[in-house]
């Protein structure tokens, strides 16, 4: 791109942790700023813009207002990048869809439950065209930089399609199942360098499912390691409830 790309950052339903991770680029933030013009970012600045080359969008869609706003962002953006699990596949917000909506509203707001409109949670791609994904909860900074650099250089970012297990093997980690724990690595898309298993935790599936995941097989593995079928599905639904709707 001849001129500096105009970048805007937006947040929908989510925790803003992915955006925070952008402010956490302490070592690279000044370099990033040298290569783009940030024209709109409500969390960090006052300005608003009428159009932009790249829109980075965090969060999922869960209210009528979200749907209106995402259409506006899409209209003004040449490229739209979904940031993090909530935007890419619905993320933890999707667990809301596994309970009856009226019960959900009553649990939190009691008899005042009708004050605030809410919809079943959707990822961005359910409503608008998403050009690229930066996955994870929160999005990983290294991956963000890869996508960012590719876009600034006019290249096409490529997403990994193998599972987290492959990265665990490459890192020579002891298999999480060998430690008596469960793990969602077999059906979870790689790209995080198997960070959680690397620090003693199991893979919770935050990066979303691999293409054509063997969900039945995953359920069998979880059940054979002591979980009930219900628990197995709850674990798989933590970040992927929206994608698993209708699969059960």
């Amino acid at each position: 791109m001849a001129n500096k790309p105009r970048v805007a950052i937006f947040d929908f339903t989510g925790c803003e942790g992915c955006e925070l991770n952008q402010l956490n680029f302490e070592d690279q933030l000044l370099d990033i700023l040298a290569h783009v013009d940030i024209v709109e970012w409500r969390e960090a600045m006052d300005d608003r813009a009428e159009e932009y080359d790249i829109a980075f969008v965090e969060g999922s869609l869960s209210t009528p207002d979200c749907i209106t706003r995402i259409h506006e962002v899409r209209r003004k953006a040449k490229v739209l990048v979904a940031l993090g699990a909530c935007a890419v596949q619905g993320g933890v917000n999707g667990m809301k869809n596994t309970h009856p909506i009226d019960e959900v509203r009553e649990t939190v707001y009691g008899e005042d439950k009708y004050l605030f409109p809410t919809l079943p949670v959707l990822p961005l791609s359910a409503v608008v065209k998403v050009d690229y994904n930066v996955r994870g909860c929160p999005m990983t900074q290294i991956e963000f930089l890869k996508v960012f650099t590719s876009l600034v250089m006019g290249k096409t970012p490529v997403e990994p399609e193998h599972s987290v297990c492959v990265e665990c093997k490459l890192n020579e980690n002891e298999c999480v199942y060998e430690k008596g724990m469960i793990c969602l690595g077999p059906v979870t898309r790689a790209g995080c360098d198997a960070h959680c298993p690397g620090v003693g935790q199991y893979c919770t599936g935050c990066r979303g499912l691999v293409p054509e995941p063997n969900i039945k097989g995953m359920e069998e593995i979880l059940v054979s390691h002591g979980l009930s079928v219900d628990e197995a599905w709850k674990r798989m639904e933590l970040y992927n409830a929206v994608k698993l709707e209708g699969v059960k």
């Binding site: 942790g17 402010l23 956490n24 302490e26 809301k96 649990t107 003693g200």
Partner: protein, 434 residues
């Protein structure tokens, strides 16, 4: 002839989450001055139902990226209390170290990136990269080190990985802690002192406004209470954390997807200023000297000074982190496994200070250690009624100024609370209606 005023700031900037400021004055009568919280509700309490105790902290951490560590600490306390899981002294020390790192990171972020632009009359931190590069680089260096504490001790600063019920999945190495300690002493302490210089130069731009209110924070006998302690009200003193419902009284109001709270008055304040008012006697000397230079005195009733209280506290977090690392290393690090064998199943409460104030989680577990009921009370939610009450006193006091000046002063007021709206709705915009 009384004044007419209509202010309507939609989606207030430089705050976490979505909120609107709405002010409406007709013929000198203030009809409305409030912060409308319009963040999309998340329904976490509903999502937690039926979840395993292993997942509670993983899920509640996602209430907020900025406060993820605090939510995790509070969640783990509540789960351990409910299931009777004892934790080691090493676990407590590592959690206190993490709490200092997260507080330091958040306070630095707020003071430099979100609040300072107001004091310098710019719209964001980005113009400061050109005009004050050394200040921006210092802020980034402080944030980096604070985040490195999280990366080293919890696997990742945003949405930590290794803290689990009963302990940690990975214990940091002695060398990792020594490196952090050296950097705290050689980088953070000088950077903190330079920060005090910078803030002293800017403090003149902080509005002079006071409204005494009730201040609620943790307090304990041994230290400046951040990780744990009793609930302490400036009006009525200390009570056990299990009394948290009585000390918050959360209720729904129609202009906010975040609930409001009150205890002894119509509103109360939580956060760094409340901690300062209740616990300044527990701060280290470096912080007390900084407070003196920045004009922060015990029993400060100016909410705009919350940012200064955050800066003062940052010094304490840095120095006490060094003391905690010394204590951890003196005992020798033990490669402990987390204690995850429940000894009872019932209800448990967690209470911890996150940067924006006191946070409560409560869970009830069934005999399979699955959540039956959950309740989270968030600092920003507790501050909302106090912000509304501040605005109702502030607007008549500044009504002779221009609409732009009044709007800015209202925005600065809300930002001073460092609100975390995603959290509170498990928000911020300004609307003036004339």
């Amino acid at each position: 002839m009384g004044a007419n005023l209509d202010i309507n700031v939609k989606h207030l900037t430089r705050v976490e989450g979505h909120g609107n400021i709405v002010v409406n004055m007709t013929d000198g009568v203030l009809e409305k001055a409030q912060l409308d919280i319009v963040e999309a509700p998340r329904y976490f309490e509903a999502m937690l139902k039926g979840r395993s105790f292993h997942e509670a902290a993983i899920i509640t951490s996602r209430i907020c990226g900025i406060c993820s560590l605090g939510h995790q600490m509070c969640s783990l306390q509540a789960t351990e209390d409910a299931l009777g899981l004892e934790i080691s002294e090493q676990t407590v020390l590592l959690r206190k170290l993490l709490t200092h790192g997260a507080t330091l990171q958040s306070n630095v972020l707020h003071a430099y990136f979100l609040a300072a632009p107001d004091l310098l009359s710019v719209g964001s931190v980005f113009p400061l990269v050109g005009t004050h590069p050394e200040v921006v680089i210092r802020a980034l260096r402080m944030k980096r080190l604070a985040n490195d504490i999280g990366d080293v001790v919890s696997g990742r600063a945003v949405h930590p990985i290794t803290p689990v019920p009963g302990g940690f999945t990975r214990i940091p190495t002695e060398q990792e802690l020594l490196t952090i300690k050296t950097r705290l002493e050689e980088e953070m302490v000088p950077d903190f002192l330079a920060t005090v210089d910078t803030m002293e130069a800017l403090a003149g731009a902080i509005p002079d406004f006071t409204r005494e209110t009730e201040y609620i924070s943790l307090r304990n006998d041994d230290e400046y209470a951040l990780y744990d302690g009793d609930i302490c009200s400036s009006d009525t003193g200390r009570v056990d954390p299990h009394e948290y419902r009585r000390m918050s009284n959360e209720h729904v109001v129609s202009h906010s997807t975040s609930k409001h709270c009150k205890v002894n008055r119509s509103s109360y304040m939580v956060g760094a200023l409340a901690r300062w008012n209740n616990n300044h006697d527990r701060l280290c000397d470096v912080s007390l000297q900084a407070a003196e230079r920045l004009g922060l005195k015990p029993d400060c009733y100016n909410p705009y000074m919350n940012t200064i209280a955050q800066v003062v506290e940052a010094g304490h977090c840095a120095l006490d982190s060094v003391a905690i690392i010394d204590k951890l290393l003196a005992g020798g690090l033990k490669d402990e496994q987390p204690n995850q064998e429940p000894t009872r199943y019932g209800t448990g409460v967690g209470a911890t200070e996150v940067p924006r104030g006191i946070l409560y989680h409560e869970y009830t577990y069934d005999r399979q250690a699955r959540i039956v009921a959950a309740n989270c009370i968030i600092p920003t939610g507790q501050n909302l009624a106090n912000i509304d009450d501040d605005m109702k006193k502030l607007v008549p006091e500044v009504v002779d100024k221009s609409k732009e000046e009044i709007t800015l002063q209202l925005e600065m007021l809300v930002r001073a609370y460092d609100p975390c709206i995603s959290c509170s709705v498990h928000m911020l915009d300004v609307d003036f209606i004339e």
